[in-house]
């Protein structure tokens, strides 16, 4: 009658628990790897850059003299870029995700759009630069403006936002949707009031990753033709500008040792900006996150 030999099971248990403990340790170590790398990176950057980081550094424009070189134009430029990229890419990305998850029928157009998106995610950033140059700078005559660069960057990070928003929307349990429909809510109301709020943590995670990428990218902006040196601040989205990673890239390629330190200081500023952005998103995310 008994198909399971209990003593056998009991004998195996210590080994299984040991494996579990070992794996837990391994998983923990893996997590530490990321943190360790981050710590090393930060340590190296801070020890190198902290000396150059002062009020003047934030106040000054770039200069040929390392001691006078500052980050102002690039910092303000990066912020301007985010002002364009964040709303454009989030609106387009979340909109697309909603369409695909909630409205799209199962047909070849939908399949095509999906394949297309995951493929776009793999297209190297430099190719987006070529696109931005052709379409936004030239065809739409936006010139080398913040808008042109911002739109280029938005397209670049779009797939990341779409894919993670799709996953987040898909993870919202079906019975929540049913409850809403059962109240006579329309599809759009259900999406807006039930699905999106429940999916926000996932959407924001994707959003953070995407914007983090946008703020650290150099290659497409080089191709679009964003200048590396600028000593004035943009006034509108139609003005030209430069961004932090370009300025940093420029400094790292200088022969003078002092510029390496200036570059490190620039990286610190970029990291602070990044951490600031992430913190905002994390706060929002933690506020919304629930486990079903």
């Amino acid at each position: 009658m008994k198909l399971i030999n209990k003593s056998h099971v009991a004998k195996k248990m210590p080994a299984r628990l040991a494996v579990n403990t070992i794996c837990k340790g391994l998983f923990f170590l893996a997590t530490l790897v990321g943190l360790l790398v981050l710590a090393i990176l930060f340590y190296r950057i801070f020890t190198q850059g902290i000396g150059s980081l002062n009020g003047d550094f934030l106040q000054n424009f770039a200069s040929r003299k390392p001691e006078e070189a500052g980050i102002k134009a690039a910092l303000i430029g990066s912020i301007w870029l985010m002002v364009v990229v964040a709303p454009v890419s989030l609106l387009l990305g979340v909109g697309t995700a909603i369409y695909l998850e909630e409205y799209a029928r199962k047909n070849w157009i939908t399949t095509f759009i999906k394949v297309n998106i995951s493929n776009l995610a793999g297209v190297p950033s430099i190719v987006f630069g070529l696109l931005g140059l052709t379409v936004f700078v030239r065809a739409l005559a936006l010139d080398r403006s913040i808008l042109a660069a911002g739109l280029t960057m938005s397209l670049l990070v779009l797939p990341v936002i779409i894919v993670s928003a799709q996953e987040a929307i898909r993870a919202v349990p079906r019975d929540l949707r049913e409850a809403s429909f059962g109240m006579g809510a329309t599809k759009w109301q259900t999406i807006l009031k039930v699905v999106l709020p429940a999916a926000i943590p996932g959407i924001l995670t994707g959003g953070i990753l995407a914007l983090s990428r946008a703020i650290g990218e150099t290659a497409p902006l080089v191709v679009v033709g964003i200048p590396m040196f600028i000593a004035f601040l943009p006034q509108t989205v139609m003005d030209t500008f430069t961004v932090l990673p370009m300025q940093i890239y420029n400094w790292t390629s200088r022969p003078q040792e002092e510029f390496q330190q200036v570059a490190a200081a620039g990286i610190i500023v970029l990291l602070i900006l990044l951490i600031f952005m992430n913190s905002i998103a994390v706060i929002i995310r933690n506020k919304f996150q629930k486990r079903y």
Partner: protein, 301 residues
């Protein structure tokens, strides 16, 4: 249409007395080698003309010309003269331009600090070293008394102005040793040579002069005795054949139509030498700048 025409005698940075305040944009792009010079010039210029917005890009000599051809920029910075294909396209688009020389860059041949046998090389030896012969190269292949160890080659990327120039004057268009390690970034090459005992490499003079303590410089013998690249030997032309000129190309139309471009270009010529020195290059003899100024005068008429 020129504005600065009354003031051309003014040299140096004190342009502010020259004319009334100008407005508008000056867009320059191109070589990343030239970028530090152009950045310095723009920095100084904007101190005197705060309402002129000068932007300096660094999308490479080729990229710079591409934009120049498309009419996006007023000045195209280049670490080599314009190529045939490019000038054909410029003609096609009806873009007339003027070539201006800015400074010299001396290409420095360096070895690892621990290399105690190499001091100088002749041009022939350089060729023997760098031109591919299908075999693994050892130091003893060059001079028998040198160690029997494999040489590690470090070179700027094939698409840089520095490589191009080296290719022209040393390799004479023959293929470079196949196992050479190439990198786009001269700082990266410095790291490479510094960390590799059997390394030999070349890159811009500024990268050597900033890292003198980490590298060993090799003098070049072009038939007149070994010459070490120094500020003086490059400027005088004594360090040959490895010093190359850096350029900027200005669109004639921009000079004629935009006051601020004309003014800026003049400022470039007047200050390039001094500012180039500051960022690690070597200025041209004075008469070269004078020639450029005259060319510019012609345009403004």
């Amino acid at each position: 249409a020129g504005c600065g025409s009354n003031d051309t005698s003014n040299s140096g940075k004190g342009n502010e007395a020259a004319s009334d305040q100008l407005k508008g944009e000056v867009i320059t792009d191109g070589s990343s080698t030239v970028f530090p010079i152009m950045e310095a010039v723009a920095e100084e210029y904007m101190a005197t003309q705060p309402d002129v917005k000068v932007s300096v890009g660094a999308s490479g000599t080729g990229g710079g010309f591409k934009k120049f051809i498309a009419g996006d920029t007023d000045l195209a910075n280049a670490s080599r003269p314009v190529k045939e294909e490019e000038s054909a396209l410029l003609d096609e688009k009806g873009v007339e331009y003027t070539e201006l020389k800015l400074a010299f860059d001396g290409i420095s041949i360096v070895a690892n600090k621990d290399n105690d046998f190499i001091d100088s090389l002749t041009v022939e030896e350089l060729q023997k070293l760098w031109i591919d012969n299908g075999k693994v190269k050892k130091w003893s292949d060059i001079r028998p008394e040198w160690p029997n160890e494999e040489i590690k080659f470090y070179s700027p990327g094939t698409d840089s102005g520095t490589y191009d120039y080296f290719n022209e004057v040393i390799l004479e268009e023959k293929p470079m040793v196949e196992n050479a390690t190439l990198s786009e970034d001269d700082n990266v090459l410095v790291q490479g040579v510094e960390g590799d005992k059997n390394a030999i490499g070349f890159f811009g003079y500024a990268y050597y002069s900033e890292n003198k303590d980490k590298l060993k410089i090799i003098s070049i013998d072009n038939g007149k005795g070994a010459v070490e690249p120094t500020h003086e030997t490059i400027k005088s032309g004594e360090y040959a054949p490895l010093s190359r000129p850096l350029y900027t190309y200005v669109a004639n139309k921009s000079v004629a139509e935009k006051e601020q471009v004309a003014d800026y270009t003049q400022f470039v010529i007047e200050n390039a030498g001094e500012l180039a020195e500051e960022v690690g290059y070597i200025s041209l003899p004075e008469e070269e700048y004078q020639k450029d100024l005259d060319k510019l005068k012609e345009l403004e008429k």
